[in-house]
């Protein structure tokens, strides 16, 4: 093995990415949210300096701790140098005025629990109601998960320029808010928590269903969403039934990731995945989290979606799926959070239980179905039902429409296979 590659493995592909969120969150707390850009600069500088030294002296045992210490020292430098020129976090105000209190106050800010809280503060701050949802997700990914602008752009299949604009605008809004979100205020906390759930959910979905063609990138988005949810679970105010349900749903879906692509790299639908390749640990974890979510009166969309994912996970073979239960869960989901996509999934479940004719009926009844027109799997579902109903020509047209909308090479290949399956030349064999 190439020695550089070997070191890369020891170090982890993205040391900076991993540490970035913790360091920026903590420094932003010390510097004040209006100095967000300064915090990012200091973190970047600390990282580059640390690597410059490691180049010559080798990697320390615990690079994360080393980086944090470097960030802390750089923070102290900045605070000393600029305390007359800038204002820093109002909460720390007086502490920063005297050398007697400065070092201990900063040291306290770098205690492990404080760093955890800082990440939560940042997460809640990113989900500011003034920001549109997609900006919240981009901001979390950029600040808390350390994705560069081009990496965020790649993850969302957006242009670098467009993503840069979105992130810059969102950062400006964040820096313009007077202070970071106060996680000690229980009422505010409870009010903002659903937005945080939503952002994590969207982040996970982008990884799971998103358009990026790099499956590694997408798995990483899923992992980051799960990591952020784990941070929520570790805080008493954030460890709510909805948080557990969201976590359960992500674990149960993530368990299926290894089986979504077969050995030749082709996309496999849920119905013909090799279920032995599902990650048993994640299924068990999901089940445990689902149990933990079942307390209190609150039934969120995450509970229902997790229950659906569980129904799939519990079936050792696709034929053993309890479609009756899944249909009734989708009925429930339609009352909690109706959307054309939920309607489509419900129609697919109904078709599994009652046949393709019923599936087609249900698809025709979806409200606002025009919003699905650009979604390849809407057309693919129509194609599937027509195909099963024995109308290969109609099916082929739908699959072709889906193919024209395919967002990545895997979807494209998958749909090409479906188009081919409809052609008489092949079915004659």
């Amino acid at each position: 093995m190439d020695p550089a590659e070997h070191l890369g493995e020891q170090l982890g592909e993205h040391l900076f990415r991993r540490e970035h969120g913790r360091m920026v969150a903590t420094l932003t707390r010390i510097f004040g949210v209006h100095n967000l850009a300064l915090a990012e600069d200091v973190v970047q500088d600390a990282f580059c300096r640390a690597l410059e030294v490691w180049k010559f002296r080798g990697m320390p045992e615990n690079p994360s701790a080393w980086l944090m210490t470097t960030a802390k020292n750089r923070a102290l430098d900045v605070l000393r140098r600029e305390r007359t020129a800038r204002t820093f976090a109002p909460e720390l105000g007086r502490m920063l005025e005297s050398e007697w209190t400065l070092a201990p106050a900063v040291a306290e800010s770098f205690a492990p629990q404080a760093i955890k809280d800082d990440q939560l503060r940042m997460m809640f701050s990113c989900c500011h109601p003034r920001l549109p949802e997609e900006a919240q997700v981009a901001l979390m990914l950029h600040i808390l998960c350390g994705f560069s602008v081009s990496e965020v752009a790649a993850a969302f299949v957006s242009s670098h320029a467009a993503m840069e604009k979105r992130i810059t605008r969102a950062k400006k809004a964040l820096a313009g808010s007077k202070k970071l979100f106060d996680i000690a205020d229980a009422a505010d906390f409870a009010a903002r928590l659903p937005a945080v759930h939503r952002a994590i959910y969207l982040l996970f979905n982008e990884g799971y269903h998103g358009a990026s063609s790099e499956s590694a990138v997408r798995a990483e988005l899923c992992r980051e969403a799960m990591r952020l949810a784990a941070l929520l679970r570790a805080h008493p105010l954030a460890a709510t039934p909805a948080t557990f349900a969201l976590s359960a749903l992500m674990s149960l879906h993530a368990a299926r990731l290894p089986a979504r692509l077969d050995s030749s790299g082709d996309l496999r639908s849920l119905f013909d995945q090799d279920r032995s390749r599902w990650d048993a640990n994640l299924v068990a974890e999901g089940q445990k989290l689902l149990d933990l979510s079942a307390s209190g009166p609150e039934l969120t969309e995450y509970h229902v979606e997790a229950a659906i994912a569980w129904a799939h996970a519990a079936a050792p073979r696709a034929e053993e799926t309890d479609w009756g239960m899944i249909v009734s869960l989708y009925d429930r989901l339609m009352t909690i959070r109706p959307s054309p996509v939920v309607g489509l999934n419900r129609a697919i479940a109904i078709a599994q239980r009652e046949g393709p004719a019923r599936g087609l009926e249900e698809i025709r009844d979806i409200a606002n179905a025009e919003r699905l027109a650009g979604y390849p799997f809407y057309h693919a579902a129509l194609g599937e039902f027509e195909f099963r109903a024995g109308r290969a020509d109609a099916a082929r047209e739908h699959f072709r429409a889906a193919l024209a909308l395919a967002r990545n090479p895997m979807e494209k290949r998958f749909l090409e296979h479906r188009v081919a399956a409809c052609s008489p030349a092949l079915t004659a064999h």
């Binding site: 020695p3 900076f16 180049k55 010559f56 560069s148």
Partner: protein, 111 residues
């Protein structure tokens, strides 16, 4: 065996953390390779890119060199090699060339 000093000059400093991390990994691999072959006398140190310059009979102190200037020395390593040709050959694996930097190879003066 003779001793040589590698002086690392220049190279882009304004790079993304990912690029810096990759570059560090290459440097470490290069150093490891040199070390395994017994060419490293002393790994040396990285240097801050700016400091003070003291000059003249007046011992005037000025800031400098400036981090922006293109050929600032960013570090040094003490090398053992057969002769300058080998020292030069060995220096060619240095990752600094990928970022428009230079290695200055200077024999340590022998008595």
């Amino acid at each position: 065996m003779s001793e040589f000093v590698y002086l690392y000059r220049g190279g882009q400093t304004n790079r993304s953390p990912e690029a810096v991390q990759q570059s560090m990994q290459k440097w470490m691999a290069w150093f490891k390779d040199l070390g395994d072959k017994g060419h490293i006398k002393n790994m040396g140190q990285p240097l801050e890119r700016t400091g003070k310059v003291v000059k003249g009979k007046q011992k005037t102190v000025t800031d400098g060199p400036f981090a922006e200037s293109k050929d600032v020395i960013g570090g040094y390593t003490l090398i053992e090699a057969r002769d300058i040709d080998q020292a030069v050959e060995l220096s060619k694996g240095c990752p600094i060339f990928e970022v428009e930097g230079a290695v200055e190879v200077r024999p340590v003066m022998k008595m």
